[in-house]
């Protein structure tokens, strides 16, 4: 087994051996469920749109919460030293951590499938946007989690890591919301940087390569920065 997978296996076990996974997953499904059914009954429309429109904001809280300890705790308690002196490359450590948080995200998303099932019971479910929406959620969640892993690699303090990650995620989310107030010259850039804009496309059922490239770039760049930050101990 690749060391990255060994590390993610260990992290997943840690998530589910401690209350972290259960608390986070429960809280998020409850909050999601509340807003989702609220909208469902008000609008009396059996679709997933309200769920998907909530997700970008919810993930701003979810991702930092599940990623804050990944590297910061190892740095704080010194276990990183033992981990990194095993025959493992730095990027494998980072990737393993990211994969573990992704597994938790997938668990949460799997539980939200009950919304899709509910909608399908109430009326015909528009499958295209639903499937695309979930793909979009995975991409967006992956980006936020990558940002969280990166923030966690910057510090040995979990609270600091949480705040950095939340700041970045929330800024990227906000870019999409403040668009009307931005001067026209900067609009394309701000709109491009916003996770929200890209997610709107995806949740409408359109999987555009530009959006996929955007999310993948955020993931790759964040994980590379996390690796660099881990490697910085070796700077001469």
């Amino acid at each position: 087994m690749n060391p990255a997978l060994v590390i993610s296996k260990r992290e997943i076990r840690t998530y589910f051996n401690s209350p972290v996974a259960y608390i986070v997953v429960t809280v998020f499904t409850i909050v999601f469920g509340f807003f989702f059914f609220n909208n469902l009954f008000v609008e009396k429309q059996a679709d997933m749109r309200s769920f998907f429109s909530l997700a970008p904001l919810m993930f701003c809280f979810f991702a930092p919460a599940v990623t804050m300890r990944l590297l910061a705790e190892e740095k704080g308690s010194g276990t990183i030293e033992l981990l990194i002196t095993m025959p493992v490359r730095d990027w494998e450590v980072v990737l393993g951590k990211w994969l573990a948080a992704m597994a938790l995200l997938c668990t949460t998303l799997a539980l939200t499938m009950v919304f899709a099932i509910t909608v399908a019971q109430l009326g015909p479910l528009d499958k295209g946007p639903a499937v695309a929406g979930y793909v979009g959620l995975l991409l967006m969640g992956g980006s936020y989690i990558a940002i969280g892993v990166m923030a966690s690699s910057f510090t040995r303090n979990q609270v600091v890591s949480l705040i950095i990650a939340f700041g970045i995620c929330f800024a990227l989310f906000l870019f999409g919301k403040v668009l009307p107030f931005i001067p026209d010259t900067f609009k394309p850039i701000v709109s491009f940087l916003s996770t929200d804009t890209h997610f709107e496309n995806v949740s409408r059922g359109v999987i555009d390569s530009r959006d996929v490239v955007y999310y993948l770039s955020v993931i790759v760049v964040s994980l590379l920065l996390a690796t660099t930050s881990l490697e910085s101990r070796k700077w001469k």
Binding site: V6, R13, T14, S77, E81, L82, M86, P87, R233, W235
Partner: protein, 325 residues
């Protein structure tokens, strides 16, 4: 490849303007148990961190089993077992889970690792606590687990940073025995600031102070370096003033220094420093008989490693700190 397992050439590490390790050079041959000695903050751990590829040297180079620690660190790490200072282990895993994790990280053959884990666990005395959480273990067991994970993949080289710190005397004896055993087949570097430890386990001693290597020798040779010996004697005073006795003792040829160290109920204890290598016990006894002091005790103490250590490391502290930007 020769039997040189570790080769360190003018290894230097700067933390900002502070030079933690300053041009340290040494070699370690196969089968040696090398004791790395020095006061706290002398650069022992930093040197070990460079050897285990956790930190990169600022300048100089180190090769482990023929592989450079910076260029070829993965190959180095495969052949190393490392026990960091304070044994940082994941507290939320059980002992068995931790060893399984280590085995997987080391890419051990899954069909053979359970047997190996069992063997190593038995050797380190972990069998009874296999199901316990690491966070609930006592310091002694944690240390043993740290050692177990270091030797799990049967590495050629073991780097142990203060393997016996925080253990009770029984555990210390046990760990030392284990290290000695391991030293017969492996190359071991261990750091400590406890002197009896190196005497008990090491075949060679490096003393480092202020980042610099100040001695590199066998324990015997190091002791022989410091000339002279010390005598401790207790005599019954029978009313003779202690000053008179002290003066008489100081006149014995070969005695460089004489001090009163204790007085109690008519008995006086003195410490004599013999400058040369000659045995002065005969002369001291003669002096006692001639002066009619009943001799209660006479012991010759050879210079301990402690004194060698103190001399080498304090001499160094007087030197102005060489901090470079």
């Amino acid at each position: 490849m020769s039997d040189l397992m570790i080769r360190v050439e003018s290894l230097t590490k700067d933390y900002g303007p502070f030079r933690a390790v300053d041009k340290v050079t040494f070699n370690v041959r196969k089968g040696e148990v090398l004791g790395f000695l020095g006061p706290n903050g002398a650069g022992k751990s930093t040197t070990m961190k460079m050897l285990t590829c956790y930190l990169a040297p600022t300048s100089g180079r180190a090769t482990v089993a023929g592989h450079d620690v910076y260029e070829d660190s993965l190959a180095v790490r495969k052949r190393l077992g490392y026990l960091p200072e304070d044994t940082p282990l994941y507290r939320d895993m059980t002992v068995l889970e931790y060893l399984q994790f280590a085995a997987e990280m080391r890419q051990m053959d899954p069909s053979k690792s359970p047997a190996r884990i069992k063997e190593v666990g038995g050797r380190c005395g972990l069998t009874d606590v296999a199901g316990k959480l690491v966070g609930e273990l006592s310091k002694g067991f944690r240390q043993r687990l740290g050692l177990a994970q270091a030797i799990l993949h049967d590495p050629d080289i073991l780097v142990l940073d203060e393997p016996t710190s925080g253990l009770d005397p029984n555990q210390i004896v046990e760990i030392r025995r284990l290290i000695k055993e391991l030293g017969q087949e492996k190359t071991v570097i261990l750091s400590t600031h406890i002197l009896p430890e190196v005497q008990a386990t090491c075949t060679r001693i490096l003393i480092i102070s202020g980042g610099k290597l100040v001695a590199d020798d066998t324990p015997e040779a190091l002791r022989a370096r410091e000339k002279g010996s010390r005598y401790r004697l207790v005599v019954e005073s029978n009313g003779v003033p202690k000053e008179a006795i002290r003066e008489k003792l100081a006149t014995i040829s070969g005695v460089a220094n004489c001090q009163t160290i204790a007085t109690e109920a008519g008995a006086l204890a003195f410490a004599l420093d013999g400058g040369g290598t000659a045995d002065l016990r005969r002369h001291i006894f003669r002096a006692a008989v001639d002066n009619h002091w009943p001799l209660l005790e006479l012991v010759r103490e050879s210079v301990s490693l402690e004194e060698v250590f103190r001399n080498l490391t304090t001499r160094d502290d007087d030197r102005p700190e060489e901090a470079r930007p």
